[in-house]
C-alpha cells in the first residue's frame, strides 16, 4: 500500500524535473501519497505550490471514491433489517433512560426512579449482543464490533459504569423488578424523620433537636447497619448525607464540646508524671560511673595532650 522512501525521493526528483511528469505521477499514486507528501519536511516550494494549485485532486477523487465504496459493498456485509430494528429499540430505550437520569441527578434518585428503564435498556443491549437471533443472524458482530468507534458498545459501557458506581444493584431486586424491602424500609424511616423536621422547623432549633432525636437516631442506626451489610446504593447515601447535614449543620444538633475542664485536668496530670519521674531519678538514683582502664603503651607520648600539642 505505501510508497517506499526511495520511490518518494524519486518522485520528488521528477517533480523538480517537469510538471507534466508530476501530474502523471500524482494521478497514478494520488491515493497513497497525498498525505505522505505533506509529511516530507524537505518538500520544496514548487511541490507545495503544485499541491495547492491543483485543488481538483482531492474533491474530485474522494466523493467518487466513497460512493463507489458504498455501492461496491456486497449484500452480506450490509446490516440486516433485523439488526436495524434492534438498534432502533436500543436507541429509544437509551433516550428514555437518559431522560430519566438527568432530572434525577440532584437530589440523587437515580436508582429509585430509573431502575426499570435501565432494565429495559439492558435487555435491548442483551438482544444485540446475543450470538444467535432469528434465522441465525448475529447482530453483535456488525453492530458492536464492526468498526473502531464502536458507538453502541461505548454508549452502553458508560451507562453500565454509571450503574455500577451508583451501586443501585444493592437497592433493587435481582432482575430489576422492584426496590428491595430494606430500601423501602429505609425510605420510610427517612420520611418520618423529615416529617419531624418539618414539624419543628419553625421556632427554636433546640426543640427540634430534642424531639426528633429518637427518630434521627433510629435512622442513623439503620444506616449504620446497612453500611455494614453493604446494602446501600447512592440514593440512600445521598439522602442520608442530606439529612445528616441538616441535623448537624443546619439545625446544629451535634454534640457540643463540654468536658474541656476534666480532659485538661487529667491530661495535665498525666503530663506531670514524667517530670516527677525524671526529677526523682535524677535526684535519687545514683549516677552510673565507669571505671577507666589505662592500657600500657610502648610510648606514652601518644596521649591525648600530646596529639594536641603536635597538631596545635
Amino acid at each position: 500500500m505505501s510508497l517506499s522512501k526511495s520511490s518518494l525521493s524519486l518522485l520528488l526528483f521528477i517533480l523538480n524535473m517537469s510538471t507534466i511528469a508530476l501530474s502523471d505521477g500524482l494521478n497514478l499514486t494520488a491515493l497513497h501519497s497525498a498525505d505522505k507528501l505533506k509529511q516530507i519536511p524537505s518538500l520544496n516550494r514548487a511541490a507545495a505550490a503544485v499541491v495547492v494549485n491543483s485543488p481538483m485532486f482531492k474533491p474530485a477523487v474522494e466523493p467518487i471514491f466513497s460512493l463507489n465504496l458504498l455501492s461496491s459493498f456486497p449484500e452480506d456485509l450490509e446490516i440486516s433489517d433485523y439488526c436495524k430494528e434492534l438498534l432502533n429499540i436500543f436507541g429509544q430505550r437509551y433516550v428514555a433512560y437518559v431522560s430519566c437520569l438527568v432530572p434525577a441527578a440532584r437530589p440523587v434518585t437515580v436508582c429509585q426512579k430509573c431502575f426499570s428503564s435501565f432494565g429495559s435498556l439492558r435487555e435491548a443491549y442483551a438482544n444485540i449482543s446475543s450470538e444467535s437471533g432469528p434465522g441465525n443472524v448475529s447482530c453483535s458482530e456488525s453492530l458492536l464490533r464492526g468498526d473502531r468507534l464502536m458507538v453502541v458498545n461505548q454508549l452502553n459501557t458508560s451507562l453500565e459504569e454509571l450503574w455500577t458506581s451508583s451501586a443501585c444493584d444493592n437497592c433493587v431486586t435481582k432482575g430489576l423488578q422492584r426496590l428491595t424491602n430494606d430500601t423501602l424500609y429505609f425510605m420510610n424511616t427517612l420520611n418520618q424523620t423529615d416529617d419531624c423536621f418539618d414539624k419543628y422547623r419553625q421556632g427554636n432549633h433546640t426543640e427540634l433537636c430534642k424531639n426528633c432525636k429518637s427518630t434521627y437516631q433510629e435512622l442513623n442506626e439503620l444506616y449504620g447497619r446497612m453500611e455494614k451489610n453493604q446494602t446501600m446504593c447512592i440514593d440512600i447515601e445521598d439522602s442520608m448525607n442530606m439529612t445528616r447535614r441538616l441535623w448537624s449543620k443546619y439545625y446544629n444538633c451535634s454534640v457540643p464540646r463540654e468536658e474541656t475542664v476534666p480532659v485538661i485536668a487529667v491530661s495535665s496530670f498525666m503530663l506531670f508524671l514524667p517530670i516527677i519521674f525524671y526529677l526523682s531519678s535524677f535526684l535519687h538514683s545514683e549516677q552510673k560511673k565507669r571505671k577507666l582502664i589505662h592500657p600500657k603503651r610502648a610510648k606514652s607520648y601518644t596521649s591525648l595532650m600530646n596529639i594536641q600539642d603536635k597538631l596545635g
Binding site: W247, R257, S267, P274, H294, K299, N306, I307, G312
Partner: protein, 773 residues
C-alpha cells in the same frame, strides 16, 4: 582483650596504678616526667560519668580471618571435590531457609500487630463513642492511657529484665556485628523471642515506633541460628551445617539475614542487599552478594505469600512488605524540572530537623544511661511514655476542629467522629488513632484536602518530640516509621502551602508527592543512610521515576545533617562504647605509627609451653587477652624470641579440655587425634577457663602448639603508619595484628580497640579511653 602484659590498673586503686605506671619499663625510655598533667589525671580515682568518649572492654572482635593451621590444611586435603560442591549447595539451602524463616517472622509480627491493635482501637473507639454523648470522655482518655501502658509494660519487662540487648531497633547492634564486633548475646534465640514479642507489644501499645528496624535484627538472629544447624539455648544439635560453625561463615550468613530482614520489612530485596553492602562491605564477594539477594527475594515473597493467605487472596502477591507505601500513580504525581530545587530545599529541612532529633536524643540517652539504668526504672519510664503518648494524642484529637467527610472507599480503619458533624470524622484522629504504618499511608495517599495545615503542623510538632523521646527506651522498636511519619506530615504541609502560594499550582503541588519527599528527607536526616535508603524508598513506593528526587533529597539531608551531628545509629553505637571501625582511619593520622598505636609488651607463649603457664595466663582476670603470639626461642641467646605463629584463647581452652599434652600423647599412643570438629563443637560458647580442671601433675606437662596455631599471622613493621594498619585491619577483618621488628621479634600487638580509640573531634585527633562497663 587488649593484649598487654602490664597489670591493668583498676581505676579505684590509685596507688597501684601509680606504681605500675612508674615501674613498667618502656621500650623507648620512660617519658613519664614530661607529662605531669597526665600523671595527676591518673592519680585521681578514675571513675567518670558515662559519656560517648569511651571504649568498653566487654566487646571483642569476631575471628573473621581464617585460622590456617595444620588441622585446617589436613581437613581441606581430605575433602573431596564433591564435598566442596555439597558445601556450596548447602550455603544456598541455608540462605533459602534464612529468607523463608525471616519472611515467616515478619508475617507473624504483622498479623499479630494488626489483630491486637485492631482489638485495642475497637475497644477504645466504642468507649469514646459511648462517652461522647453522655459525657465522661476523660474516662476514655484514662482507659486509652492505661491500656497503652499495660501493653507496653509487658514489652518493657521482657526487654529490661530478660534481654536488654533486644532494646531499640537492633540496627546499631547489627551494624556493629557486621563491622566485626562480637556483641554479647546479640544473635541468640532468646534475643529473637524477646525482640519479636517486644516489638509486637510496643507497636500495639501505641508508642511512636515502627516494627521495621527490629525485623533486621530478627533476620540476623535467624541467620546466625539456622546456619549453625543447632541451638545452644535449646540444647539441640541437628548435626547439619557443621562446617559453618565459625565466625567467618556465620558473619556472612548474618549479613544475608540482615538483608532478608530489610527486604521483608520494606518489600525491598535490592535495598536489603545494598543495606548489607553498606554496613559490612569490607568482606564481600560476588557469590555472597548473589546468595544474599536470593535470601532477600525468598524472604519478601514468603511474607507476600502468607499475607495473601491471611487476607483471603491466596496467590495474590501484591503486599510485599511490612510497610507498604501504596502505589503512586505515575501520571498524578509526576514531577517537573522546576521542582528539583524545592526537593533539595526539603532535603535541607530534613537534615536540620534530623540533626535536631539526634541531638535531643543524644542528651536523653546520656541521661538514661547515667540515671535510668535500673530495670524497674526503665519499665516505669516506658509505661510513662506510653501513657503520655496516649494523653497527647487524645488531647490533640479532642481539641481538633478539623473535620473531613468520610471517603467513599473507607481508607480510615478506625474513624472517630467525636464532635464532628454526622458523616464526618476527625482528621487528627486518622493520624493519631491508628497504627503508625497506616498513618504514613494515609498521609501519602489521601485526597489533597484531607488534612488542614494546622492539623499537619501540630501533628508534626507533637510526633517529633514523642518519637524522639521514645527512641532509646527499653522496648524493642524501630525509628524508621516515626521518621517517615514526621517527614510525611511536614512534607504534606509543605505541599499544601505551596499549592496555596501558587494559585494555579494546585495541579503539580500534589501533597502526597511532597509527603513522600518529606518522609525521605526526614528519614535521611535521622539515620543518614544513603545508597540503601534510596533504593529502599524507591522499591517501597514501587516507582523508579522517584529515584532522582529521593537520591537528591537524601544527599542534601546527609550533607546538612552531618554538618551538625552524626546519624542516630552512629550516636548510639558511640554511646554504647563499641570499638567500631569506620571506613577510613581518621584524617591527619599519618604521623602515628604502629609503634605508638600498639599495645606492648605482649604476652607470648612458647611453641612448646608448660601447661601451668598457659593456665595461669588464661586465668589472669585482669588481662583478659584473647590472642597470643607464639614464639620460638633462639637457642643460646637472651634476646626476645622470634614470632612463629598466633593462637587464640578459644583454641587453648579446647586443647586444655581435651588434654592434648605431649606426655599423654607419648604414653597413650592410641589417643584420638584432635580434629577441627572438636573446635567447632565448642563454638560459639567456649567454656571459661575456670571450668577446666587441671591437676597439679598436669600443670607440669608440656603442650605442643605447632599443629594448632595459625602459622602465618599478619604482621606489620613498627614504622607502619596508622592508616596503613587500619586499612589492613579493616579490609581483612583481622582480630590481632602483630607488630614485629626487623628481626621478626614480637614488639607489640594491634587490636580493634587500639585502632578504634582514635577519632577526629572538634579539637583535632582525640583518643577514647578504655572503660569497664
Amino acid at each position: 582483650m587488649a593484649n598487654i602484659t602490664k597489670k591493668v590498673s583498676w581505676s579505684s586503686r590509685a596507688d597501684e596504678s601509680g606504681a605500675t605506671g612508674e615501674g613498667t619499663p618502656l621500650l623507648n625510655g620512660s617519658e613519664q616526667p614530661r607529662h605531669s598533667r597526665q600523671d595527676s589525671l591518673r592519680g585521681r580515682p578514675k571513675e567518670i560519668p558515662h559519656n560517648e568518649k569511651l571504649l568498653s572492654l566487654k566487646f571483642e572482635s569476631l575471628d573473621y580471618d581464617n585460622i590456617e593451621n595444620q588441622l585446617f590444611l589436613e581437613e581441606e586435603r581430605r575433602m573431596s571435590y564433591m564435598g566442596f560442591r555439597c558445601l556450596e549447595i548447602s550455603r544456598w539451602v541455608v540462605c533459602g531457609l534464612i529468607g523463608f524463616l525471616t519472611g515467616l517472622i515478619a508475617c507473624f509480627i504483622d498479623i499479630a500487630v494488626e489483630e491486637l491493635a485492631g482489638f485495642k482501637y475497637q475497644v477504645v473507639k466504642e468507649n469514646i463513642e459511648k462517652f461522647t454523648e453522655v459525657g465522661g470522655l476523660s474516662i476514655s482518655l484514662i482507659l486509652w492511657a492505661v491500656l497503652n501502658s499495660a501493653i507496653v509494660m509487658i514489652g518493657a519487662i521482657i526487654v529490661a529484665f530478660f534481654e536488654p540487648i533486644a532494646a531499640g531497633s537492633g540496627i546499631p547492634q547489627i551494624k556493629c556485628y557486621l563491622n566485626g564486633v562480637k556483641i554479647p548475646r546479640v544473635v541468640r534465640l532468646k534475643t529473637l523471642v524477646v525482640k519479636v514479642c517486644g516489638v509486637i507489644c510496643s507497636v500495639v501499645g501505641g508508642l511512636a515506633v515502627g516494627k521495621e528496624g527490629p525485623m533486621i535484627h530478627s533476620g540476623a538472629v535467624v541467620a546466625a541460628g539456622v546456619s549453625q544447624g543447632r541451638s545452644t539455648s535449646l540444647k539441640r544439635d541437628f548435626k547439619i551445617f557443621e562446617y559453618f560453625r565459625r565466625d567467618t561463615e556465620k558473619r556472612d550468613f548474618v549479613s544475608a539475614g540482615a538483608a532478608a530482614g530489610v527486604s521483608a520489612a520494606f518489600g525491598a530485596p535490592v535495598g536489603g542487599v545494598l543495606f548489607s553492602l553498606e554496613e559490612g562491605a569490607s568482606f564481600w564477594n560476588q557469590m555472597l552478594t548473589w546468595r544474599i539477594f536470593f535470601a532477600s527475594m525468598i524472604s519478601t515473597f514468603t511474607l507476600n505469600f502468607f499475607l495473601s493467605i491471611y487476607h483471603n487472596k491466596t496467590g495474590d502477591l501484591s503486599s510485599p512488605g511490612l510497610i507498604n507505601f501504596g502505589r503512586f500513580e505515575s501520571d498524578s504525581v509526576a514531577y517537573n524540572l522546576y521542582e528539583i530545587p524545592l526537593f533539595i530545599a526539603m532535603g535541607a529541612i530534613g537534615g536540620l530537623l534530623g540533626a535536631l532529633f539526634n541531638v535531643l536524643n543524644y542528651w536523653l540517652t546520656i541521661f538514661r544511661i547515667r540515671y535510668v539504668h535500673r530495670p524497674c526504672l526503665q519499665v516505669m519510664e516506658a509505661m510513662l511514655v506510653a501513657a503520655v503518648t496516649a494523653t497527647v494524642s487524645f488531647t490533640m484529637i479532642y481539641f481538633s476542629n478539623d473535620c473531613q467527610p468520610l471517603g467513599p472507599e473507607h481508607t480510615e480503619e478506625y474513624p472517630l467522629q467525636l464532635f464532628c458533624a454526622d458523616g464526618e470524622y476527625n482528621s487528627m484522629a486518622t493520624a493519631f488513632f491508628n497504627t503508625p504504618e497506616r498513618s504514613v499511608r494515609s498521609l501519602f495517599h489521601n485526597q489533597p484536602d484531607t488534612y488542614n495545615p494546622l492539623t499537619l503542623g501540630l501533628f508534626t510538632l507533637t510526633y517529633f518530640f514523642l518519637a524522639c523521646w521514645t527512641y532509646g527506651l527499653a522496648v524493642s522498636a524501630g525509628v524508621f516509621i516515626p521518621s517517615l511519619l514526621i517527614g510525611a506530615a511536614w512534607g504534606r504541609l509543605f505541599g499544601r502551602l505551596l499549592a496555596a502560594i501558587t494559585s494555579s499550582g494546585s495541579i503539580w503541588a500534589d501533597p502526597g508527592k511532597y509527603a513522600l519527599i518529606g518522609a525521605a528527607a526526614q528519614l535521611g536526616g535521622i539515620v543518614r543512610m544513603t545508597l540503601s535508603l534510596t533504593v529502599i524508598m524507591v522499591e517501597a513506593t514501587g516507582n523508579v521515576t522517584y529515584g532522582l528526587p529521593i537520591m537528591l533529597v537524601l544527599m542534601t539531608a546527609k550533607i546538612v545533617g552531618d554538618y551538625f551531628v552524626e546519624g542516630l545509629y552512629d550516636i548510639h553505637i558511640k554511646l554504647q562504647s563499641v570499638p567500631f571501625l569506620h571506613w577510613e582511619a581518621p584524617a591527619t593520622s599519618h604521623w602515628l605509627t604502629a609503634r605508638e598505636v600498639m599495645s606492648s609488651p605482649v604476652t607470648c607463649l612458647n611453641r612448646i609451653e608448660k601447661v601451668g603457664t598457659i593456665v595461669d595466663t588464661l586465668s589472669n582476670t585482669s588481662t583478659n587477652h584473647n590472642g597470643f603470639p607464639v614464639v620460638v626461642q633462639v637457642t643460646g641467646s637472651d634476646e626476645p624470641a622470634k614470632l612463629c605463629g598466633l593462637i587464640l584463647r578459644s583454641q587453648l581452652i579446647v586443647l586444655l579440655k581435651h588434654k592434648v599434652f605431649v606426655e599423654l600423647a607419648r604414653s597413650r599412643l592410641t589417643q584420638r587425634k584432635l580434629q577441627l570438629k572438636d573446635f567447632r563443637d565448642a563454638y560459639p560458647r567456649f567454656p571459661p577457663i575456670q571450668s577446666i580442671h587441671v591437676s597439679q601433675d598436669e600443670r607440669e606437662c608440656m603442650m605442643d602448639l605447632t599443629e594448632f596455631m595459625n602459622a602465618t599471622p599478619y604482621t606489620v613493621p613498627q614504622e607502619t603508619s596508622l592508616p596503613r594498619v587500619f586499612k589492613l585491619f579493616r579490609a581483612l577483618g583481622l582480630r590481632h595484628l602483630v607488630v614485629v621488628d626487623d628481626e621478626n621479634r614480637v614488639v607489640g600487638l594491634v587490636t580493634r580497640k587500639d585502632l578504634a580509640r582514635y577519632h577526629l573531634g572538634k579539637h583535632g585527633l582525640e583518643e577514647l579511653q578504655l572503660a569497664q562497663t
